[in-house]
């Protein structure tokens, strides 16, 4: 007989929390949550990023110390770890998703992760959370299929392969004695979004978002605030090393529903929204996918092709194991999350 799942027990936060990729979308959301609460050492790639997170390089403010470095070079991590004192947890959120060159996937995502794991192991980190993706698992074969917590790898394109290799590097480190776990968020939305994401709102507002086929394909998405909650639950819940969990909103959404909900969110925030009128046949997404894969083989990457290629497919995941093992309980769903995202963009002076 299986005993009833014990209620999840949390450990106390560490003395120092290292966050890589701190200048990125998730990194900034994490710092927003952790600043004034914890002592954080934040890895950023440039001094401009350090300024963007509100902490000039090498200066501490709100408990956050920004360090300029590069996960691609092992010595680029020395300062980040050497200055960490007491019990140390690491949240490895650095990664590249829309690179200039395809090579960056491998260098940043795969090798960078191996470097961070090696540094964490050498430094005797207490717990490491690696932020992975749905991409190592590809797409669902059928729009009614949902990824279970454990699935065979089937990476999608260069990004997926590099994120798979990153997970394999984490598992190698776990075998070497590191207490590391993995969270797998799908497509995020919410505050701290990079400027490129405003295109999404613009397309919906002007009725030009390309809906593929009947729009019934399903997509899991995660509000960045839910993801922050999931990452911290993975960090602070005692589990066996090597576990991995989907962290997403409660349920997947249908693509047509996503477009309609974003439209409603824009209207609620005072925008005029044109009725969506761009319906593309399924073949358009297939052609875009082929073109994307062919270009990636030559080392080039075109974001629009990549995103369009993915729009025709179902990527749906089941978060029930994260609920059971981590007590993860996403509070924000699409409409509210999109409204917060729109308000954040307006506060930043971004034009939608």
């Amino acid at each position: 007989m299986t005993p009833a799942a014990p209620s999840t027990s949390r450990v106390r936060p560490p003395d120092t929390t290292i966050v890589t990729g701190a200048g990125g979308w998730l990194g900034r959301a994490l710092l927003d949550h952790l600043s004034n609460e914890r002592s954080v050492r934040a890895l950023v790639t440039t001094a401009a990023d350090a300024a963007a997170i509100g902490t000039p390089a090498e200066v501490s403010a709100n408990g956050v110390t920004a360090i300029v470095g590069d996960v691609r070079r092992p010595d680029g991590l020395a300062e980040l770890f050497d200055g960490a004192t007491g019990e140390v947890d690491v949240i490895h959120a650095a990664g590249v998703i829309h690179p200039g060159r395809v090579d960056e996937f491998e260098e940043v995502n795969a090798r960078g992760t191996a470097n961070v794991m090696a540094a964490a192991l050498a430094h005797g980190a207490r717990r490491v959370v690696h932020v992975s993706s749905n991409s190592p698992f590809g797409t669902n074969t059928d729009r009614l299929d949902t990824f279970r917590n454990d699935e065979p790898y089937h990476p999608y394109a260069g990004y997926g392969r590099s994120k798979m290799r990153a997970e394999l590097a984490v598992h190698d480190a776990v075998r070497g004695g590191l207490n590391a776990v993995i969270v797998r968020p799908p497509w995020f939305y919410g505050p701290f979004q990079p400027p490129r994401q405003t295109t999404f709102f613009k397309l919906v507002r002007t009725g030009r978002f390309p809906v593929i086929g009947d729009g019934r394909q399903r997509r899991s998405m995660v509000y960045v605030g839910n993801l922050v909650q999931g990452v911290l639950a993975a960090e602070l819940t005692a589990t066996a090393p090597g576990r991995a969990w989907w962290i997403a909103d409660a349920e997947p959404y249908e693509v047509a529903e996503i477009v309609a909900t974003v439209g409603r969110a824009l209207v609620a925030e005072g925008f005029d929204v044109a009725p969506n009128r761009v319906r593309l046949p399924a073949i358009a997404a297939r052609l875009a996918e082929r073109a994307d894969l062919a270009l990636q083989r030559t080392g080039r990457y075109v974001q629009q092709l990549h995103v369009l290629g993915e729009m025709g497919t179902t990527i749906a995941c089941d978060i029930s194991v994260a609920r059971d093992e981590l007590g993860y309980d996403p509070q924000v769903a699409l409409e509210e999350g999109m409204r917060r995202s729109i308000r954040w963009c307006l506060d930043q002076g971004l034009e939608l």
Binding site: G138, T141, D142, P152, Y153, H154
Partner: protein, 472 residues
Amino acid sequence: MTGVRLQADVLVVGSGAGGAPTAALAAEGGHDVVVLEEGPMVRQGEVVPFSLAQMDRQYRAGGVTPALGLPTITYTEGCCAGGGTEINSGLYRRPPEEVLARWGLDGDDVAELYAICDEVEKELSVQTVPGAQIPGSELLRRGAAALGWQHDESPRWMDYSAGPDARQGRRRSMTETYLPRATAAGARLLTGHRVDRLILDGRRAVRAELSTADGQRGTIDFRDVFVCGGAIQTPAMLQRSGLRRAIGRSLAVHPTVKLTARFTDAVNVPDDVPVHQVKEFAPDLSFGGSASNPGLVALALSDSWGRFGEAVTDWRRMAVYYAAITSQGRGRVLALPGLRDPLVTYRLTRRDKELLGQGLARLALLLLEAGATAVYPAYRGAPIVRTPADLATLRATFSAGRASVMTVHLCSTVPFGAGHDAPADTLGLLRATTNVRVNDASLLPDAPGVNPQASVMAVAIRNVRRYLESVR
């Protein structure tokens, strides 16, 4: 024409899961019944289950028949007294309610069919294993449990009076149950008798032409006929009789792909199959265990024999498993003039092919979780899977065209339905005739997503009872 001359009230063509209960109930109802079975009578215990000797004696064409198409799908059919029930795994699943609803069956029909299932389950002694499972079954259960995937033990029609363990069961196949009931009630069972065609007088069939295993020809005259030759032979025989409208055009199957898993302990049981099934992804995808005698292990390794062949010497530590899908494709059965066997074609859809690859990878993941040290997928160019990273190679290199896709569970070549486009009415009467009834797996409107024997038997028993009421 000289030779055999026979006469009967009711002719039953075929003696499997459809024909045997049809014959028993008709004979018990007082009708003069003749059952013509193309294959031989082989008593249980005469051949080892799942052996090559059994394939030679009890299967059509020595066990493997190809359906043309890309990829080629091989299928097996029983050809003996008792039909498929003598050679299958004996697993039993009632048709799920949503499947019956899809078939247009409503509340009263469903209650009636489930009441018949109760009866069949008693007659065939349907139960789970009271004692020890075979290791291959236990490993499947363990892998599914580790992943949190829904799984259960399929009941089987088995008698465990000799002992409680899986290997001590005695099969309650048709030669042990409904066929003895039929003959006890006066039915005549003639094996080695093949019905070549029916002769119709207008819309009424009056006679069948037959040929025997020892080369004789003959005829049988009858009042009514039940055609129960299975989803390939039934439509082929009807087509040879000139009954072609909508017949043989909608073959449904559960395509399967296989792999062999190698463990550190001896797990192989040559003469039995696992009873656990993984239903997490049902009905689209189901996993289970296959027969795994050394010959079948070799067969499952044969697609990449150059690299996999050495493993066969370790067959005692190996077991074969399958991933089955519910297919969106359909196939055709076409009787060709002058040929004894029909041409069978089947086309998988793009989604079917994808699902086979995903199913095989998920099954391989499960077996790694169960403790397999190596997994050998059955397709040309497959990697030996030892780690999670190898699963990515499996998905990247799999294509249905390079796989040994095979199937049992052939259905739906003469589907019943209330609409006039269905060749048979809801009780199996061919709409083009007044007295030709189909009563086997051909009738099921589609593949039920579970082992279909229970569905076949329940529908057949209901239909023959309605027939008996109508001629009383």
